[in-house]
Amino acid sequence: MIFKGILNRFRRVHPGIRLILMVIWLIAVVQTKPEHLHYLIFWMFLQLPHMSVEPKKWGRQMLMAEPFLLFVGLSYLFVYRAPATYYHLTLPEGIWAFIALLVRGNLAVMGITAFVNAISMEGLADGMRWLKVPETFVLIMMQTYRYIGLMVQKVHQMTTAYRLRSGGKTGVHLDAWGSFPGQLLLLSLKQAEATHEAMMLRGYNPAASYVGISKVQISDLTDAIVWLLLFAAVPFVL
């Protein structure tokens, strides 16, 4: 019960403060050397209060980072061959460097996921406005995010229509690969313009600020300071 209370408290921290904490987490994680990998285990526990994501989603997001990490990391195995001893275990330096890179890379992704997934898109916009990010940029970002959903919907409609007309064939035929994205773009654009015109008729003004900026409460600051103190204490205690 107490643990659940702590979780909920941390998830309510102001989005702007969460973004700052996230940057501190990332800088600390990516600079961790192989001999300090054990810090990361304790830092991971400090991530728990921020988490609200199911492990499956993490797995999917971490997969995106793997190819480039593996491409760079595998070269360590061939280049750094001198033996190195960490945690009473002697292995070629390249293996240690490879392990450290993989752990750092995946934890960086995990950190972003943990910090951001508890924030809604509106909350993120709020946090960005609090951090003085220009309104124009925040508006474009929100539009892009919203139209990703619209586009997914249109792709679904178009593939269904295509399947119904294709006489039992699966997938989009090679002949339609050019017209399919073009038509998708036109349909999405048409709907987006219609929505935008309707919004303008209702008095929407893109230049006027409509993204609210919520105030930072004292509890946000105290929660952030407690988290930072625990985070900074790890290297000193271990």
């Binding site: 994680v29 995106m64 190819p67 940029f137 892009t144 139209y147 990703i148 050019g178 773009l185 987006a192």
Partner: protein, 320 residues
């Protein structure tokens, strides 16, 4: 193409954040949403489209590698460089925060590779210059150049961060050719999309392209980028490290010495006569740092003149 956080040092990441934010401040100043509000849905849709295109990885035959579209050129062509750049920035942020693609420390570098290089370098200096001479092929050529340049920048950024074990030339030698092939596919798809829109919404597309082109003239781009190059060569070179560069360092590590004599004496003799700024120094100048700065500045101007000469010569050859 997306660099993750573990592949870049905070110092290099911060430097590229600085460059990207400066470009963003300029773009925000140039984009007037009050008078161009109808572009907002277009920016959203194009951003979503590019986002989707970047998610689809395709196999590059014979290499064992895969690639995805950058999309910066398409955004610049349809939205103009400023709005295109801001859209690219926003979609890269969404990818980094919600989809784990790229990173936050590496965000500035990713924006530089896929946004600044395509919208502010390739679009005004390659696409717009070639458009009237090569027609539709300009899109393909520009896409190849954009992705190649981006891949080279990835190699530079990760090498500067000290995370790549391979020598820079080898790493860049792997990165760039693969991305040139991906650039060909990107060019083909960008061309197909632009052609499709040209066929079905010709007036609207013509208006969009005209708006985009007047947003950032090649001459202005050349002056801006030239100014930046001069500032780097003449100003930042002042603070350049005196340590050997990556290649020299690698040679030193392997051979324990850098050969004094050239393999080809004739080549060395020609180089001795030709190199007026040997080791980036001005002859007869005592202050080494000012000497490096001045040599860098002159070198930048000479490079610019040489590029202009090549372009002019190519134009004349084509007229014949």
């Amino acid at each position: 193409m997306h660099i993750s956080d573990a592949l870049i040092s905070p110092a290099v990441g911060a430097a590229f954040w600085g460059v990207s934010l400066a470009a963003a401040a300029y773009a925000v100043k140039k984009v007037d949403l009050q008078t161009n509000s109808e572009k907002l849905p277009l920016a959203g849709v194009m951003g979503a489209f590019t986002f989707a295109a970047q998610m689809i990885n395709f196999t590059i035959p014979g290499t064992g590698a895969s690639g995805h579209l950058g999309g910066g050129l398409l955004l610049a062509i349809l939205l103009g460089p400023h709005l295109g750049y801001l859209t690219m920035m926003s979609l890269l942020l969404i990818q980094a925060l919600f989809f784990g693609d790229g990173g936050l420390i590496a965000y500035g570098a990713n924006v530089f590779n896929m946004g600044i290089l395509t919208c502010y370098v390739i679009y005004p200096l390659v696409y717009k210059v070639l458009k009237n001479r090569m027609g539709k092929l300009a899109i393909v050529f520009s896409a190849v150049a954009g992705l190649g340049l981006g891949a080279f920048a990835v190699a530079v950024e990760t090498s500067l961060s000290g995370v790549v074990a391979l020598p820079f030339t080898l790493f860049a030698g792997v990165m760039v050719p693969i991305h040139l092939v991906i650039g060909l596919v990107e060019g083909g798809i960008t061309l197909a999309v632009v052609n499709y829109l040209r066929r079905f919404i010709p007036e609207k597309l013509a208006q969009m392209e005209t708006d985009a082109e007047t947003a950032f003239a090649p001459r202005k781009a050349m002056v801006s980028i030239g100014g930046l190059a001069a500032a780097i060569a003449g100003g930042l070179a002042y603070y350049a490290s005196a340590n050997p560069d990556g290649l020299e360092w690698s040679v030193l590590k392997v051979a324990k010495t850098i050969p004094e004599k050239a393999i080809h004496p004739a080549g060395e003799a020609i180089q001795n006569v030709m190199s007026i700024f040997s080791d980036y120094q001005m002859a007869g100048m005592e202050n080494a740092r000012i000497s490096v700065g001045l040599a860098g500045l002159i070198g930048s101007v000479l490079t610019l003149l040489l590029v202009m000469l090549v372009v002019k010569s190519a134009e004349r050859l084509k007229q014949r």
